[in-house]
Subunit: 245 residues, 2 copies
């Protein structure tokens, strides 16, 4: 049974301020919750149906997860999903600062505000084996339920650090590729999978301040009439080109 | 001034049934409306602010467009945008059947239901110079306002034909590439930009029936932990690989 206080607490975690205060967040749905259980995240509360508990009782008992039986309608009421016949889990936020290594490939996001784009980019990073993303403080919050859902569980495998990009990236001895409308054609340029790929805001691109960080401007060639590509789409195409090396 | 009847008519066009009956649709916002004015679409009604009319009066008068002055709040009330300080235009639906040509590259969509994905794929096709899309009858409707908005004006340059895919694509003497989880690695395969790229449904991929059409299965290589990519993301990456040829 979920108490009124617990329901209220979980609902409050939809708001960034309360997630910060409590250093907690939640995920919903069978796939996300199972991935969370099998991850290193510390789960403080698992709300789930009898069926879900039955199916996963070995892991849940082994890890001594604090669990509460809930009906489908309770899960819908405390979460953001329209349907959820499985589970919702609350876990502690973790933040691991990124130590930049010249041999690795990173993504840096400058003011990516849309939670759907943010989550999709995390999923793309995961697909292309990019384990670390540096996000400006103005990017959508990783633990926003919309970001987590769009990431399709990839947030577990990709580390996101929120930082001041110019402080974090200045003076590095590594390539910083910036996705611009006028840069080197990524089909023609040799792209070694090392360095930082910097992607900009949905409407305004990379800010003036962060443009100064870019030492290797790159562009996706355009073969038709569209003026631009969505930032998540452009990120995927660029990552794909880096992984052809 | 927009009469109550006109307002009611425009609002009804948010529903597919009424778009079919009247063979009409609307677009919103300065960018989309300007692109529509400069296209071959026949505009039946233009609702716009005094400022918009003033800025574009040459085109509007030259083309003798039937126009109605509206306030920002009227445009918001009849449309789907939260803000619209420019214009909304109603135009006649056009449908041009696609004549498949062996030398061209096409996209075929099997049951792409999400309007955001549908619109984004149209924008991607436009970027990569793919002028024709064959969509199964169950795909999101091109003239759904969410599809049009996600296409960012690209619907004007890309022709979409709704058809039974197996009837349209069967027995063709051209490659039909299907995006599958187990196909040829697109980084290794030579992809000539000719033929049809078939993309499947968001959850279920290509249907059994249409799988039979595929004579060249292809796959985006996976370098990390994500199980899949969103269909619009996968479409962009595949198109990009075809355009490297």
């Amino acid at each position: 049974m979920i108490s009124r206080n617990l329901a209220k607490y979980i609902k409050s975690l939809q708001i960034k301020k309360y997630r910060k205060e409590t250093q907690s967040f939640f995920v919903e749905g069978a796939k996300n919750v199972i991935e969370l259980i099998n991850s290193e995240y510390e789960i403080t509360h698992l709300c789930c149906t009898e069926e879900f508990l039955e199916q996963h009782k070995t892991e849940i008992k082994l890890q001594q997860i604090n669990h509460f039986i809930a009906k489908e309608k309770d899960l819908v009421q405390i979460g953001t999903f329209k349907n959820n016949n499985a589970a919702l889990a609350v876990a502690k936020i973790t933040e691991t600062p990124i130590k930049l290594d010249k041999k690795q490939l990173y993504l840096a996001l400058d003011d990516v505000r849309d939670p759907g784009n943010m989550g999709t980019i995390i999923r793309i990073a995961d697909w292309y084996g990019i384990k670390n993303i540096i996000a400006s403080q103005t990017c959508a919050d990783l633990y926003n339920p919309k970001v987590l859902n769009a990431s399709m569980g990839s947030f577990i495998r990709v580390n996101v650090e929120y930082a001041n990009l110019s402080e974090k990236l200045q003076g590095l001895d590594m390539p910083i590729y910036g996705a611009l409308l006028e840069g080197a054609n990524i089909h023609k340029k040799t792209l070694e999978p090392r360095g930082v790929i910097l992607m900009g805001n949905e409407s305004n691109g990379i800010s003036q301040e962060n443009l100064a960080l870019v030492n290797s401007p790159i562009t996706i060639p355009n073969f038709g009439g569209a003026e631009s590509l969505n930032v998540a789409i452009a990120t995927a195409v660029i990552c794909d080109n880096f992984r052809r090396y």
